[in-house]
Protein backbone atom coordinates (compact mmCIF):
# COMPACT_ATOMS: atom_id res chain seq x y z
CA UNK A 1 0.00 0.00 0.00
CA UNK A 2 2.78 2.35 0.92
CA UNK A 3 4.36 1.69 -2.47
CA UNK A 4 1.89 3.66 -4.48
CA UNK A 5 2.82 7.12 -3.21
CA UNK A 6 6.49 6.28 -3.70
CA UNK A 7 5.89 5.34 -7.31
CA UNK A 8 3.85 8.50 -7.86
CA UNK A 9 6.63 10.61 -6.40
CA UNK A 10 9.26 8.84 -8.49
CA UNK A 11 7.23 9.33 -11.64
CA UNK A 12 6.87 12.99 -10.86
CA UNK A 13 10.59 13.23 -10.29
CA UNK A 14 11.51 11.34 -13.44
CA UNK A 15 8.73 12.00 -15.91
CA UNK A 16 10.83 10.91 -18.88
CA UNK A 17 11.49 7.48 -17.39
CA UNK A 18 7.81 7.07 -16.75
CA UNK A 19 6.89 8.09 -20.25
CA UNK A 20 9.48 5.85 -21.84
CA UNK A 21 8.37 2.81 -19.94
CA UNK A 22 4.82 3.50 -20.83
CA UNK A 23 5.28 3.95 -24.54
CA UNK A 24 7.95 1.37 -25.23
CA UNK A 25 5.66 -1.50 -24.45
CA UNK A 26 2.59 -0.25 -26.20
CA UNK A 27 2.11 -1.41 -29.75
CA UNK A 28 0.83 1.32 -32.03
CA UNK A 29 -2.49 0.33 -33.67
CA UNK A 30 -0.80 -0.06 -37.04
CA UNK A 31 1.30 -2.92 -35.64
CA UNK A 32 -1.72 -5.16 -36.16
CA UNK A 33 -0.84 -5.38 -39.81
CA UNK A 34 2.70 -6.56 -38.96
CA UNK A 35 2.28 -9.17 -36.27
CA UNK A 36 0.44 -11.79 -38.32
CA UNK A 37 3.63 -12.49 -40.28
CA UNK A 38 6.35 -10.98 -38.11
CA UNK A 39 5.13 -12.27 -34.75
CA UNK A 40 3.42 -10.61 -31.82
CA UNK A 41 6.73 -9.40 -30.45
CA UNK A 42 8.29 -8.86 -33.85
CA UNK A 43 10.21 -12.08 -33.36
CA UNK A 44 9.54 -13.37 -36.88
CA UNK A 45 7.67 -16.46 -37.99
CA UNK A 46 8.78 -19.13 -40.43
CA UNK A 47 10.30 -17.46 -43.45
CA UNK A 48 9.30 -13.96 -42.31
CA UNK A 49 12.15 -11.95 -40.83
CA UNK A 50 12.15 -10.67 -37.29
CA UNK A 51 11.74 -6.96 -36.76
CA UNK A 52 12.57 -6.68 -33.09
CA UNK A 53 15.76 -4.79 -32.46
CA UNK A 54 16.25 -3.41 -35.96
CA UNK A 55 17.47 0.19 -35.82
CA UNK A 56 14.75 2.82 -35.92
CA UNK A 57 16.16 4.81 -38.82
CA UNK A 58 16.87 1.64 -40.77
CA UNK A 59 13.35 0.34 -40.14
CA UNK A 60 11.72 3.59 -41.23
CA UNK A 61 13.84 3.72 -44.39
CA UNK A 62 12.68 0.24 -45.32
CA UNK A 63 9.01 1.05 -44.89
CA UNK A 64 9.47 4.16 -47.00
CA UNK A 65 11.27 2.14 -49.67
CA UNK A 66 8.53 -0.52 -49.71
CA UNK A 67 5.91 2.19 -50.10
CA UNK A 68 7.75 3.95 -52.93
CA UNK A 69 8.47 0.67 -54.66
CA UNK A 70 12.23 1.21 -54.51
CA UNK A 71 12.43 -1.93 -52.42
CA UNK A 72 10.36 -4.31 -54.52
CA UNK A 73 8.09 -6.55 -52.49
CA UNK A 74 4.56 -7.56 -53.52
CA UNK A 75 3.38 -8.20 -49.95
CA UNK A 76 4.92 -5.16 -48.30
CA UNK A 77 4.12 -2.63 -51.00
CA UNK A 78 0.36 -2.37 -50.32
CA UNK A 79 0.86 -2.55 -46.55
CA UNK A 80 3.51 0.14 -46.40
CA UNK A 81 1.66 2.34 -48.87
CA UNK A 82 -1.38 2.22 -46.64
CA UNK A 83 0.54 3.64 -43.68
CA UNK A 84 0.87 7.33 -43.00
CA UNK A 85 4.25 8.93 -42.36
CA UNK A 86 3.43 9.07 -38.66
CA UNK A 87 2.38 5.44 -38.55
CA UNK A 88 5.64 4.31 -40.18
CA UNK A 89 7.61 6.33 -37.70
CA UNK A 90 5.61 4.91 -34.80
CA UNK A 91 6.19 1.34 -36.01
CA UNK A 92 9.89 1.98 -36.40
CA UNK A 93 10.07 3.29 -32.85
CA UNK A 94 8.04 0.39 -31.47
CA UNK A 95 9.85 -2.51 -33.12
CA UNK A 96 13.31 -1.06 -32.66
CA UNK A 97 12.65 -0.90 -28.92
CA UNK A 98 11.70 -4.57 -28.71
CA UNK A 99 14.52 -7.03 -28.10
CA UNK A 100 14.97 -10.49 -29.50
CA UNK A 101 14.78 -13.08 -26.76
CA UNK A 102 17.60 -15.59 -26.28
CA UNK A 103 16.76 -18.66 -28.30
CA UNK A 104 14.73 -16.55 -30.72
CA UNK A 105 15.42 -16.47 -34.40
CA UNK A 106 16.39 -19.49 -36.38
CA UNK A 107 19.49 -20.47 -34.43
CA UNK A 108 21.04 -23.81 -35.20
CA UNK A 109 24.51 -25.17 -35.61
CA UNK A 110 26.62 -22.73 -37.59
CA UNK A 111 27.89 -24.32 -40.78
CA UNK A 112 31.61 -24.26 -41.38
CA UNK A 113 32.93 -23.71 -44.88
CA UNK A 114 32.75 -20.88 -47.38
CA UNK A 115 29.79 -19.06 -45.81
CA UNK A 116 31.55 -18.83 -42.48
CA UNK A 117 34.77 -17.82 -44.18
CA UNK A 118 33.08 -14.99 -46.02
CA UNK A 119 31.22 -13.89 -42.93
CA UNK A 120 34.22 -13.81 -40.62
CA UNK A 121 37.11 -13.04 -42.95
CA UNK A 122 35.68 -11.69 -46.19
CA UNK A 123 37.44 -12.35 -49.44
CA UNK A 124 40.11 -9.74 -49.72
CA UNK A 125 41.52 -11.04 -52.99
CA UNK A 126 38.32 -9.47 -54.32
CA UNK A 127 38.51 -6.52 -51.92
CA UNK A 128 35.51 -7.93 -50.08
CA UNK A 129 35.41 -7.18 -46.35
CA UNK A 130 34.02 -9.65 -43.85
CA UNK A 131 30.28 -9.29 -43.18
CA UNK A 132 30.96 -8.94 -39.46
CA UNK A 133 33.14 -5.89 -40.04
CA UNK A 134 29.98 -3.86 -40.59
CA UNK A 135 27.28 -6.08 -39.09
CA UNK A 136 29.26 -6.64 -35.93
CA UNK A 137 30.59 -9.71 -34.15
CA UNK A 138 28.05 -12.50 -34.42
CA UNK A 139 26.10 -10.45 -36.97
CA UNK A 140 24.36 -8.57 -34.16
CA UNK A 141 24.60 -5.20 -35.81
CA UNK A 142 26.42 -1.91 -35.29
CA UNK A 143 24.58 1.31 -34.59
CA UNK A 144 21.69 2.71 -36.57
CA UNK A 145 22.74 1.85 -40.09
CA UNK A 146 24.19 -1.65 -39.92
CA UNK A 147 21.31 -3.92 -38.91
CA UNK A 148 21.61 -7.20 -37.06
CA UNK A 149 21.38 -10.12 -39.47
CA UNK A 150 21.99 -13.05 -37.12
CA UNK A 151 19.11 -15.48 -36.86
CA UNK A 152 17.14 -14.10 -39.79
CA UNK A 153 15.64 -16.76 -42.07
CA UNK A 154 18.17 -17.99 -44.62
CA UNK A 155 15.71 -17.51 -47.46
CA UNK A 156 15.12 -13.93 -46.42
CA UNK A 157 18.81 -13.09 -46.24
CA UNK A 158 19.45 -14.73 -49.58
CA UNK A 159 16.61 -12.86 -51.22
CA UNK A 160 17.99 -9.56 -49.98
CA UNK A 161 21.39 -10.27 -51.50
CA UNK A 162 19.66 -11.22 -54.73
CA UNK A 163 17.56 -8.07 -54.61
CA UNK A 164 20.67 -5.92 -54.31
CA UNK A 165 22.16 -7.68 -57.27
CA UNK A 166 19.05 -7.21 -59.39
CA UNK A 167 18.41 -3.66 -58.25
CA UNK A 168 15.19 -4.60 -56.46
CA UNK A 169 16.47 -3.07 -53.26
CA UNK A 170 18.17 0.31 -52.83
CA UNK A 171 21.93 -0.15 -52.50
CA UNK A 172 21.85 1.30 -48.98
CA UNK A 173 23.96 4.05 -47.41
CA UNK A 174 26.87 4.96 -49.68
CA UNK A 175 25.80 2.11 -51.96
CA UNK A 176 27.76 -0.30 -49.80
CA UNK A 177 25.55 -3.37 -49.96
CA UNK A 178 24.81 -3.01 -53.65
CA UNK A 179 28.53 -2.92 -54.34
CA UNK A 180 29.24 -5.94 -52.16
CA UNK A 181 26.37 -8.07 -53.43
CA UNK A 182 27.49 -7.53 -57.02
CA UNK A 183 30.66 -9.42 -56.28
CA UNK A 184 29.03 -12.46 -54.76
CA UNK A 185 27.92 -15.44 -56.82
CA UNK A 186 24.92 -17.68 -56.24
CA UNK A 187 26.87 -20.12 -54.08
CA UNK A 188 28.18 -17.28 -51.93
CA UNK A 189 24.69 -15.92 -51.35
CA UNK A 190 23.42 -19.28 -50.24
CA UNK A 191 26.37 -20.10 -48.02
CA UNK A 192 26.57 -16.76 -46.26
CA UNK A 193 22.79 -16.59 -45.78
CA UNK A 194 22.77 -20.03 -44.20
CA UNK A 195 25.64 -19.10 -41.93
CA UNK A 196 23.99 -16.02 -40.46
CA UNK A 197 20.60 -17.72 -40.27
CA UNK A 198 22.15 -20.29 -37.96
CA UNK A 199 23.46 -17.74 -35.45
CA UNK A 200 21.48 -16.75 -32.36
CA UNK A 201 19.62 -13.49 -32.83
CA UNK A 202 19.88 -12.38 -29.23
CA UNK A 203 22.90 -10.78 -27.68
CA UNK A 204 23.68 -13.47 -25.12
CA UNK A 205 26.37 -16.04 -25.56
CA UNK A 206 27.35 -15.16 -29.06
CA UNK A 207 30.74 -13.80 -29.65
CA UNK A 208 32.45 -15.66 -32.38
Amino acid sequence: MARLPVIVVLCLLFPSAYAQQNTANTAPPAAQSCVACHGAQGQGTGSYPHLAGLGEAYFKRQLDAFASGERVNAIMKPIASGLSEEQRQALAGYFSALAMQPGGGQAGEAPTGPGRELALHGRWQQDLPACVQCHGPGGLGIGADFPPIAGQPAGYLRNQLKAWRSGDRPAGPQGLMGHIAEQLDADDLKAVAEYFASLPAAKEANNE
Binding site: W124, P129, C134, G136, L140, G141, I142, P173
Partner: protein
Protein backbone atom coordinates in the same frame (compact mmCIF):
# COMPACT_ATOMS: atom_id res chain seq x y z
CA UNK B 1 55.18 -54.35 -51.14
CA UNK B 2 54.07 -51.96 -48.44
CA UNK B 3 57.48 -52.34 -46.82
CA UNK B 4 59.36 -51.12 -49.85
CA UNK B 5 56.95 -48.22 -50.09
CA UNK B 6 57.71 -47.32 -46.49
CA UNK B 7 61.43 -47.39 -47.21
CA UNK B 8 61.02 -45.11 -50.20
CA UNK B 9 58.99 -42.64 -48.14
CA UNK B 10 61.44 -42.72 -45.26
CA UNK B 11 64.28 -42.16 -47.69
CA UNK B 12 62.62 -39.16 -49.29
CA UNK B 13 61.88 -37.63 -45.94
CA UNK B 14 65.51 -38.03 -44.93
CA UNK B 15 66.79 -36.45 -48.14
CA UNK B 16 64.34 -33.58 -47.86
CA UNK B 17 65.32 -33.05 -44.26
CA UNK B 18 69.02 -32.89 -45.05
CA UNK B 19 68.40 -30.56 -47.97
CA UNK B 20 66.28 -28.32 -45.78
CA UNK B 21 68.94 -28.05 -43.08
CA UNK B 22 71.53 -27.33 -45.73
CA UNK B 23 69.42 -24.64 -47.30
CA UNK B 24 68.84 -23.08 -43.91
CA UNK B 25 72.55 -23.04 -43.24
CA UNK B 26 73.34 -21.59 -46.62
CA UNK B 27 70.83 -18.75 -46.45
CA UNK B 28 72.83 -17.53 -43.55
CA UNK B 29 72.40 -17.06 -39.84
CA UNK B 30 71.51 -13.82 -38.16
CA UNK B 31 75.06 -12.53 -38.43
CA UNK B 32 75.15 -12.62 -42.21
CA UNK B 33 71.77 -11.12 -42.40
CA UNK B 34 72.59 -8.21 -40.15
CA UNK B 35 75.66 -7.40 -42.17
CA UNK B 36 73.82 -7.51 -45.40
CA UNK B 37 70.96 -5.28 -44.41
CA UNK B 38 72.00 -3.07 -41.54
CA UNK B 39 73.17 -0.40 -43.95
CA UNK B 40 69.89 -0.24 -45.75
CA UNK B 41 67.56 2.26 -44.28
CA UNK B 42 63.92 1.59 -43.73
CA UNK B 43 61.55 3.23 -46.17
CA UNK B 44 61.04 6.92 -45.64
CA UNK B 45 57.66 6.59 -44.06
CA UNK B 46 56.65 3.67 -41.94
CA UNK B 47 53.88 2.50 -44.07
CA UNK B 48 53.44 5.26 -46.56
CA UNK B 49 55.52 5.32 -49.66
CA UNK B 50 56.58 1.94 -50.82
CA UNK B 51 59.76 3.86 -51.54
CA UNK B 52 61.80 3.86 -54.68
CA UNK B 53 62.19 0.87 -56.86
CA UNK B 54 58.96 -0.64 -57.85
CA UNK B 55 59.42 -4.30 -57.21
CA UNK B 56 61.95 -5.76 -59.48
CA UNK B 57 60.18 -9.01 -59.89
CA UNK B 58 61.15 -11.10 -56.90
CA UNK B 59 63.86 -13.33 -58.15
CA UNK B 60 62.60 -16.83 -58.11
CA UNK B 61 65.88 -18.16 -59.38
CA UNK B 62 67.44 -18.15 -55.93
CA UNK B 63 67.45 -21.87 -55.33
CA UNK B 64 64.57 -22.34 -53.01
CA UNK B 65 64.70 -25.17 -50.54
CA UNK B 66 63.03 -28.36 -51.67
CA UNK B 67 60.07 -27.91 -49.38
CA UNK B 68 59.14 -24.50 -50.69
CA UNK B 69 60.01 -25.18 -54.29
CA UNK B 70 56.43 -24.84 -55.42
CA UNK B 71 55.58 -21.98 -53.11
CA UNK B 72 58.42 -19.48 -53.56
CA UNK B 73 57.97 -16.69 -54.16
CA UNK B 74 54.48 -17.11 -52.83
CA UNK B 75 51.74 -14.82 -54.00
CA UNK B 76 49.61 -15.35 -50.94
CA UNK B 77 50.15 -16.21 -47.32
CA UNK B 78 49.21 -19.76 -46.33
CA UNK B 79 45.51 -20.25 -45.54
CA UNK B 80 44.29 -20.12 -41.95
CA UNK B 81 43.33 -23.76 -42.19
CA UNK B 82 46.98 -24.68 -42.67
CA UNK B 83 48.14 -23.49 -39.24
CA UNK B 84 49.53 -26.67 -37.70
CA UNK B 85 47.96 -28.34 -34.74
CA UNK B 86 50.94 -28.18 -32.40
CA UNK B 87 52.63 -25.80 -29.99
CA UNK B 88 53.93 -23.61 -32.79
CA UNK B 89 50.43 -23.48 -34.29
CA UNK B 90 49.03 -22.48 -30.92
CA UNK B 91 51.42 -19.55 -30.76
CA UNK B 92 50.52 -18.53 -34.31
CA UNK B 93 46.83 -18.61 -33.45
CA UNK B 94 47.47 -16.58 -30.32
CA UNK B 95 49.29 -14.04 -32.47
CA UNK B 96 46.32 -13.87 -34.80
CA UNK B 97 43.96 -13.30 -31.88
CA UNK B 98 46.14 -10.52 -30.50
CA UNK B 99 46.34 -8.95 -33.94
CA UNK B 100 42.58 -9.01 -34.49
CA UNK B 101 41.43 -8.08 -31.00
CA UNK B 102 44.35 -6.34 -29.41
CA UNK B 103 42.39 -4.76 -26.58
CA UNK B 104 41.20 -8.13 -25.39
CA UNK B 105 44.28 -10.30 -25.90
CA UNK B 106 46.99 -7.76 -25.13
CA UNK B 107 45.06 -5.50 -22.80
CA UNK B 108 48.04 -4.77 -20.58
CA UNK B 109 49.78 -3.07 -23.52
CA UNK B 110 46.97 -1.57 -25.62
CA UNK B 111 46.05 1.92 -24.52
CA UNK B 112 43.29 2.78 -26.98
CA UNK B 113 40.30 1.29 -28.75
CA UNK B 114 42.18 0.10 -31.82
CA UNK B 115 43.35 -3.30 -32.98
CA UNK B 116 46.23 -4.08 -35.31
CA UNK B 117 43.77 -5.22 -37.98
CA UNK B 118 42.09 -1.81 -38.12
CA UNK B 119 44.94 -0.63 -40.30
CA UNK B 120 46.28 -4.00 -41.47
CA UNK B 121 43.21 -5.62 -43.00
CA UNK B 122 42.32 -9.28 -43.04
CA UNK B 123 44.46 -10.08 -40.06
CA UNK B 124 47.51 -8.51 -41.70
CA UNK B 125 47.08 -10.47 -44.93
CA UNK B 126 45.71 -7.85 -47.30
CA UNK B 127 48.35 -6.73 -49.78
CA UNK B 128 47.32 -3.08 -49.89
CA UNK B 129 47.43 -2.42 -46.16
CA UNK B 130 51.00 -3.09 -45.07
CA UNK B 131 50.84 -6.90 -44.97
CA UNK B 132 52.81 -8.68 -42.27
CA UNK B 133 54.36 -11.11 -44.69
CA UNK B 134 56.22 -8.24 -46.31
CA UNK B 135 57.39 -6.76 -43.05
CA UNK B 136 58.80 -9.90 -41.46
CA UNK B 137 61.57 -10.57 -44.00
CA UNK B 138 62.75 -6.92 -43.96
CA UNK B 139 63.99 -6.73 -40.38
CA UNK B 140 66.39 -6.03 -38.75
CA UNK B 141 66.51 -2.64 -40.43
CA UNK B 142 67.62 0.87 -39.65
CA UNK B 143 64.74 3.19 -38.78
CA UNK B 144 64.96 6.92 -39.03
CA UNK B 145 62.32 7.20 -36.35
CA UNK B 146 64.59 6.01 -33.56
CA UNK B 147 67.85 6.20 -35.46
CA UNK B 148 69.13 2.72 -34.89
CA UNK B 149 68.74 -0.79 -36.24
CA UNK B 150 65.50 -2.36 -35.05
CA UNK B 151 64.77 -6.02 -35.06
CA UNK B 152 61.23 -7.19 -35.66
CA UNK B 153 60.42 -7.40 -31.95
CA UNK B 154 61.40 -3.78 -31.43
CA UNK B 155 59.41 -2.78 -34.48
CA UNK B 156 56.33 -4.44 -32.97
CA UNK B 157 56.97 -2.68 -29.68
CA UNK B 158 56.83 0.58 -31.60
CA UNK B 159 53.32 -0.26 -32.80
CA UNK B 160 52.19 -0.61 -29.21
CA UNK B 161 53.83 2.61 -28.06
CA UNK B 162 52.48 4.76 -30.87
CA UNK B 163 49.63 3.30 -32.92
CA UNK B 164 48.13 1.53 -29.92
CA UNK B 165 48.95 4.40 -27.54
CA UNK B 166 50.03 1.80 -25.00
CA UNK B 167 53.32 0.52 -23.75
CA UNK B 168 55.88 -1.88 -25.14
CA UNK B 169 55.27 -5.53 -24.32
CA UNK B 170 58.47 -7.24 -23.15
CA UNK B 171 60.34 -8.71 -26.09
CA UNK B 172 60.50 -12.19 -24.63
CA UNK B 173 56.90 -12.15 -23.39
CA UNK B 174 53.95 -13.91 -24.96
CA UNK B 175 52.56 -10.94 -26.90
CA UNK B 176 55.70 -10.23 -28.90
CA UNK B 177 56.53 -13.91 -29.28
CA UNK B 178 53.02 -14.68 -30.56
CA UNK B 179 52.98 -11.76 -32.99
CA UNK B 180 56.37 -12.79 -34.29
CA UNK B 181 55.24 -16.37 -34.77
CA UNK B 182 52.15 -15.14 -36.59
CA UNK B 183 54.20 -12.87 -38.88
CA UNK B 184 56.71 -15.61 -39.55
CA UNK B 185 53.87 -17.97 -40.43
CA UNK B 186 52.30 -15.50 -42.85
CA UNK B 187 55.67 -14.80 -44.48
CA UNK B 188 56.18 -18.37 -45.57
CA UNK B 189 57.92 -18.40 -48.93
CA UNK B 190 58.81 -14.70 -48.91
CA UNK B 191 62.42 -14.05 -49.88
CA UNK B 192 64.34 -12.66 -46.93
CA UNK B 193 65.64 -9.14 -47.36
CA UNK B 194 64.32 -8.60 -50.86
CA UNK B 195 62.01 -5.67 -51.33
CA UNK B 196 58.59 -7.35 -51.60
CA UNK B 197 56.05 -6.45 -54.23
CA UNK B 198 53.60 -5.13 -51.67
CA UNK B 199 54.99 -3.27 -48.74
CA UNK B 200 53.42 -0.57 -46.63
CA UNK B 201 50.55 1.19 -48.30
CA UNK B 202 50.58 1.76 -52.07
CA UNK B 203 51.83 5.18 -53.10
CA UNK B 204 49.22 7.85 -53.59
CA UNK B 205 49.99 10.55 -56.15
CA UNK B 206 50.54 14.09 -54.94
CA UNK B 207 47.22 15.93 -54.95
CA UNK B 208 46.52 18.42 -57.74
CA UNK B 209 45.89 21.07 -55.08
CA UNK B 210 47.30 21.39 -51.57
CA UNK B 211 45.15 19.41 -49.11
CA UNK B 212 42.30 21.44 -47.64
CA UNK B 213 40.73 21.06 -44.19
CA UNK B 214 37.39 22.41 -45.42
CA UNK B 215 37.12 20.09 -48.38
CA UNK B 216 38.32 17.27 -46.14
CA UNK B 217 35.46 17.87 -43.75
CA UNK B 218 32.98 17.55 -46.61
CA UNK B 219 34.62 14.32 -47.74
CA UNK B 220 34.55 13.04 -44.18
CA UNK B 221 30.87 13.71 -43.57
CA UNK B 222 29.90 12.17 -46.90
CA UNK B 223 32.12 9.07 -46.82
CA UNK B 224 33.45 8.34 -43.34
CA UNK B 225 30.96 9.54 -40.73
CA UNK B 226 28.50 6.73 -41.46
CA UNK B 227 30.85 4.30 -39.73
CA UNK B 228 33.35 6.39 -37.78
CA UNK B 229 30.80 8.87 -36.43
CA UNK B 230 30.35 12.58 -37.09
CA UNK B 231 33.04 13.35 -34.55
CA UNK B 232 35.38 10.57 -35.54
CA UNK B 233 34.61 8.77 -32.30
CA UNK B 234 33.98 5.36 -33.85
CA UNK B 235 31.00 3.14 -33.12
CA UNK B 236 30.47 0.26 -30.79
CA UNK B 237 28.85 -2.98 -31.94
CA UNK B 238 25.80 -4.52 -30.30
CA UNK B 239 28.05 -6.73 -28.16
CA UNK B 240 29.85 -3.62 -26.89
CA UNK B 241 33.07 -4.36 -28.72
CA UNK B 242 34.53 -1.57 -30.86
CA UNK B 243 32.75 -1.95 -34.20
CA UNK B 244 34.31 0.92 -36.15
CA UNK B 245 37.54 2.43 -34.84
CA UNK B 246 37.84 6.00 -33.57
CA UNK B 247 39.94 8.23 -35.81
CA UNK B 248 40.90 10.88 -33.29
CA UNK B 249 40.40 11.61 -29.62
CA UNK B 250 41.63 9.60 -26.67
CA UNK B 251 40.62 6.24 -28.15
CA UNK B 252 42.70 6.59 -31.30
CA UNK B 253 46.36 6.48 -32.35
CA UNK B 254 48.66 9.05 -30.80
CA UNK B 255 50.70 11.94 -32.19
CA UNK B 256 53.71 9.69 -32.66
CA UNK B 257 51.98 7.04 -34.77
CA UNK B 258 52.81 6.76 -38.45
CA UNK B 259 49.15 7.22 -39.33
CA UNK B 260 49.11 10.78 -37.95
CA UNK B 261 51.22 11.79 -40.95
CA UNK B 262 49.01 13.18 -43.65
CA UNK B 263 50.84 11.39 -46.45
CA UNK B 264 50.62 8.01 -44.72
CA UNK B 265 46.93 8.42 -43.94
CA UNK B 266 46.26 9.59 -47.50
CA UNK B 267 47.95 6.48 -48.86
CA UNK B 268 45.97 4.21 -46.56
CA UNK B 269 42.67 5.93 -47.29
CA UNK B 270 43.22 5.94 -51.02
CA UNK B 271 43.97 2.22 -51.00
CA UNK B 272 41.43 1.02 -48.50
CA UNK B 273 38.65 3.43 -47.60
CA UNK B 274 35.67 3.43 -47.51
CA UNK B 275 35.89 -0.21 -46.46
CA UNK B 276 35.18 -2.53 -49.37
CA UNK B 277 34.53 0.36 -51.74
CA UNK B 278 37.65 2.51 -51.88
CA UNK B 279 36.59 5.03 -54.49
CA UNK B 280 37.95 8.39 -53.33
CA UNK B 281 40.01 10.49 -55.71
CA UNK B 282 43.64 11.27 -54.81
CA UNK B 283 42.59 14.79 -53.90
CA UNK B 284 39.78 13.57 -51.65
CA UNK B 285 42.10 11.12 -49.92
CA UNK B 286 44.61 13.88 -49.14
CA UNK B 287 41.92 16.33 -48.07
CA UNK B 288 40.25 13.94 -45.67
CA UNK B 289 43.62 12.71 -44.37
CA UNK B 290 44.45 16.29 -43.47
CA UNK B 291 41.04 16.79 -41.87
CA UNK B 292 41.27 13.65 -39.74
CA UNK B 293 44.82 14.40 -38.67
CA UNK B 294 44.00 17.97 -37.74
CA UNK B 295 42.16 16.84 -34.62
CA UNK B 296 43.53 16.34 -31.16
CA UNK B 297 44.70 12.84 -30.28
CA UNK B 298 46.80 11.32 -27.48
CA UNK B 299 50.12 13.05 -26.84
CA UNK B 300 53.34 12.01 -28.54
CA UNK B 301 55.05 9.65 -26.05
CA UNK B 302 58.30 11.55 -26.68
CA UNK B 303 56.69 14.78 -25.45
CA UNK B 304 59.08 16.68 -23.19
CA UNK B 305 56.65 19.25 -21.84
CA UNK B 306 56.84 21.57 -24.82
CA UNK B 307 54.82 21.02 -27.98
CA UNK B 308 57.14 23.34 -29.86
CA UNK B 309 60.30 21.48 -28.88
CA UNK B 310 58.73 18.08 -29.40
CA UNK B 311 57.54 19.24 -32.79
CA UNK B 312 60.94 20.55 -33.82
CA UNK B 313 62.65 17.42 -32.71
CA UNK B 314 60.29 14.71 -33.92
CA UNK B 315 57.85 16.21 -36.37
CA UNK B 316 59.84 17.31 -39.38
CA UNK B 317 57.38 15.64 -41.72
CA UNK B 318 53.91 16.02 -43.17
CA UNK B 319 51.97 16.21 -39.94
CA UNK B 320 49.82 18.70 -38.08
CA UNK B 321 51.40 18.41 -34.63
CA UNK B 322 52.12 21.89 -33.31
CA UNK B 323 50.14 23.56 -36.08
CA UNK B 324 47.31 25.92 -35.27
CA UNK B 325 43.86 24.81 -36.35
CA UNK B 326 40.76 26.75 -35.37
CA UNK B 327 42.85 28.93 -33.10
CA UNK B 328 44.24 25.98 -31.12
CA UNK B 329 47.69 24.49 -31.29
CA UNK B 330 47.44 20.76 -31.95
CA UNK B 331 49.21 18.85 -29.22
CA UNK B 332 48.51 21.47 -26.54
CA UNK B 333 45.26 19.77 -25.49
CA UNK B 334 46.24 16.21 -26.20
CA UNK B 335 44.92 13.45 -23.94
CA UNK B 336 47.75 11.56 -22.22
CA UNK B 337 49.87 9.03 -24.05
CA UNK B 338 50.54 5.50 -22.95
CA UNK B 339 47.27 4.93 -21.18
CA UNK B 340 46.95 1.27 -20.35
CA UNK B 341 44.28 -0.08 -18.05
Amino acid sequence: MSRSLAIVIAGSVLVAGVAWSLATLLTGGTEDYRERFASESAPASEAGSSAAGQPSSPSSSQAPSPQTATAAPSTEPPPRSAIPDNQFGDLVRQGERIFNDTGQYADAYAGNDLSCQNCHFDGGRYNKTAPLRSAWPMYPAYRGKNQHVNDYAERLQGCFIYSMNGKAPPRDGEVIQALQAYSFWLAKGMPTGEEPEYRGFPNVAEPPEPPSFGRGETVFQANCALCHGENGQGQKAADDSMGFPPLWGEGSYNWGAGMHRVNTAAAFIKAAMPLGKPDLTDQQAWDVALFINSHERPQDPRFNGSVQETGERFHQHQGQYGKTVDGRVLGENAPPSGTVP
